[in-house]
């Protein structure tokens, strides 16, 4: 594990070279089984992306934002958490982290089918729902971490947000409060180069987002977000610090959104083809495959077998979700209040055709 690095270091932390070799003197905190589990999660994410995209095209799913390109950033960070006591607060492009916490693929399919129950995190699953209002989740994460600590838990909260979301006032207010309260939060800012069509240089003039950390009195670290090991390393240290009561950390995962923003987006309007080509060469899946192949942990046959299994799992989840009867009108009214106003109950009765 690398030592704590200076805040605002200009070069991203990298443990795994593009050719899949680990830099001399660097050990991996993940053992073989963990590495293979992370590998599985990354391939699963790719399988989900492909399947969901085609389901959307068939009209069987609503708008969906693929993860492709950011698997190492999401998996590397999430695998540094202990799902039994740590929490994930997602934006909307971190399904692998949500699944690790205990959310299920079938629920995800329901969510993207527009079923209100798709956003249900079962009791015991330490996870907040998808967040569509960008950056609004970051204050929640800080309050959650503060509340856990207040109640004597040593749980840590890992919150994800994008380079775009970082420009929102909520991001600032939350980072600042976390500093003041030394809340046990790991802020994972996934800088994937884009907020829809807006490039990072229109989002910030700073050399890095990690440089913001100093202004909040917390350590900041710039990490190669396509490097599973570096992401895991930086987050493991940040989790340890938070757990020990030493407060929050801001991690900038520098990665790249290899696909469209979502199923409605046409990136050819604004992404330079040559740039995309270059960035695709840095695909985190390729890099991890090289590493695991060199370590003798995977080969083409095992990968093909795994991919087939993952696809079958996705298909099973889709089938399970599609077998659920579509929600009825009561789904609009349930869970709006615990103790609902009479007027809304009257509307429910009218909409469901039940006596009020």
């Amino acid at each position: 594990m690398s030592a704590v690095r200076a805040t605002g270091s200009a070069e991203p932390l990298r443990l795994l070279a593009p050719d899949g070799t680990v830099a001399a003197g660097q050990a991996t905190a993940l053992d073989d089984a963990q590495l293979l589990d992370a590998w599985r999660a990354m391939l699963q994410s790719r399988a989900v992306d492909e399947r969901f995209f085609s389901l959307q095209r068939q009209g069987r799913l609503g708008t969906f934002s693929p993860v492709a390109g950011e698997e190492a950033a999401v998996v590397g960070s999430a695998w540094a958490l202990d799902p039994a006591r740590d929490w994930v607060v997602p934006q909307y492009r971190e399904l692998p982290a949500m699944l690790r916490q205990g959310y299920t693929l079938a629920r995800a399919v329901r969510y993207f089918r527009g079923d209100p129950a798709g956003n249900l995190m079962e009791p015991g699953v330490n996870l907040l729902p998808y967040q569509i209002s960008l950056a609004a989740q970051i204050p929640h994460a800080v309050g959650l971490a503060w509340g856990l600590r207040h109640q004597g838990s040593d749980g840590v909260v890992c919150v994800y947000f994008g380079d775009g979301a970082s420009s929102e006032g909520d991001a600032h207010e939350a980072l600042n409060l976390a500093g003041v309260r030394r809340a046990p939060v790991v802020f994972v800012l996934k800088n994937n180069g884009w907020a829809i069509s807006t490039p990072v240089r229109r989002q910030t003039a700073a050399a890095s987002f990690a440089a913001r950390a100093e202004g909040y009195g917390m350590p900041g670290e710039l990490v190669d977000g396509n490097d599973l090991l570096a992401m895991h390393d930086a987050c493991t240290r940040a989790v340890a610090r938070a757990r020990a009561g030493d407060g929050p950390t801001l991690i900038e995962a520098r990665t790249y959104r290899m696909g469209p923003h979502n199923t409605s987006d046409d990136p050819t309007r604004y992404v330079d083809a040559a740039e995309l080509e270059e960035r695709r060469a840095a695909d985190p899946v390729l890099r991890l495959r090289r590493h695991l192949t060199a370590r003798g942990l995977v080969d083409a046959a095992s990968e093909a077998e795994l991919t087939a299994r993952l696809k079958a799992e996705v298909d099973a989840a889709v089938a399970e979700a599609e077998a659920v009867p579509p929600p009825g009108p009561e789904a609009m009214f349930d869970h709006v209040y615990a103790d609902a106003p009479g007027r809304m109950l009257g509307q429910r009765a009218a909409a469901t055709g039940e006596g009020g």
């Binding site: 729902p129 929640h140 800080v142 309050g143 109640q151 006032g169 409060l177 709006v336 007027r343």
Partner: protein, 325 residues
């Protein structure tokens, strides 16, 4: 029973709930050592510690937003907005997050929290401090909106709000903090949300109001009584839930109604009240329902604010108009 000012009643409710339920946490700007700029939280930090009565950075969105997270962790946060007008800085967190988290999470994350916020005019505050934004929050499904008019109700409704499983915006009238005084029971009690209070019965016209405007309504009713009219006053106590039964009955009895509030006329909650009344009691109506409200202008600087906030005279004029219609 003791006579208390409204701010004392609020403080008493907060203290009692902090004492009773260790999940309750108070957070806001200057709520700690300073005891709040209006002293609503005076002495609470001393008594319950800086971990439970927490001075926050000057940032409304994260005061409310972190309360969402605190609630997810199992606590019951009481977030103070120093003024309701600055709730606008947190509008996206209140309307888009607090109000919807239970629904968004299909029931997993209820939001048992209270957002306290003073508002209201004629106390010579600078710009934006007096703004009455209640209608904007009443139109945020998932939220409850409570607006007490007496010290008794302030304590009882705040206690109910603190024990309610849903998020409550609790609006406190600046003008009433010290001016409104009445008998408040000593012990534990709560006033249920959604039950209006009949302040006085009336056969000729009923004035429907809430918060400090109830005091104006009462004075106008007394003055009208001196002129020989029987004017009722209904104090709504909460806008969501809304006591439509009480509205219907009061209007059925009087046949005429006036709705009154401190917010500007257009798209104010008075419009909702008129719409509800005519839905519930159209056939009882003998005249158009009168609306008395502030003008459709920003809350003005102090030298003219007394002309802006509805006065007893304007209410009386409306009473005469409605009776003569």
């Amino acid at each position: 029973m003791a006579v208390m000012t409204m701010v004392e009643a609020i403080r008493a409710s907060l203290a009692a709930e902090l004492e009773r339920d260790e999940r309750v946490l108070v957070l806001g700007q200057d709520v700690g050592v300073n005891g709040g700029v209006f002293r609503a939280t005076e002495g609470l930090q001393e008594r319950f510690g800086a971990d439970r009565v927490v001075d926050m950075p000057l940032a409304e969105a994260v005061i409310v937003g972190s309360a969402v997270g605190l609630a997810c962790s199992g606590l019951i946060p009481v977030a103070e907005l120093q003024f309701l007008g600055f709730g606008s800085q947190a509008f996206h967190q209140i309307e888009g997050q607090v109000a919807r988290m239970r629904f968004r999470s299909a029931g997993r994350y209820g939001m048992p929290m209270v957002i306290r916020a003073p508002f209201g005019g004629n106390v010579r505050t600078p710009e934006l401090h007096s703004d009455a934004h209640e209608a904007k929050y009443a139109g945020a499904p998932g939220l409850k909106v409570v607006m007490p008019a007496t010290a008794h109700d302030a304590k009882g409704l705040l206690t109910a709000a603190l024990r309610d499983p849903d998020p409550v915006l609790f609006c406190e009238p600046l003008r009433g903090y010290r001016l409104i005084k009445d008998e408040v029971p000593d012990g534990d009690y709560s006033v249920p949300l959604g039950r209006a209070r009949t302040v006085r019965e009336g056969d000729d016209v009923v004035i429907v109001a809430y918060s400090a405007a109830v005091v104006i309504a009462e004075k106008a009713a007394e003055r009208a009584a001196a002129e020989g009219y029987s004017v009722g006053v209904l104090d709504l106590r909460s806008l969501v839930p809304l006591d439509t039964d009480a509205l219907r009955e009061a209007v059925a009895r009087a046949g005429r109604a006036i709705v009154l509030h401190e917010a500007p006329l257009t798209a104010g909650f008075g419009a909702e009240l008129v719409a509800t009344i005519q839905e519930e009691a159209f056939w009882s109506l003998e005249a158009p329902i009168g609306r008395v409200a502030a003008y459709d202008t920003p809350y003005p600087p102090g030298a003219v604010e007394e002309l802006y906030v509805p006065s007893v005279e304007r209410v009386l004029a409306a009473v005469r108009d409605v009776l003569e219609a």
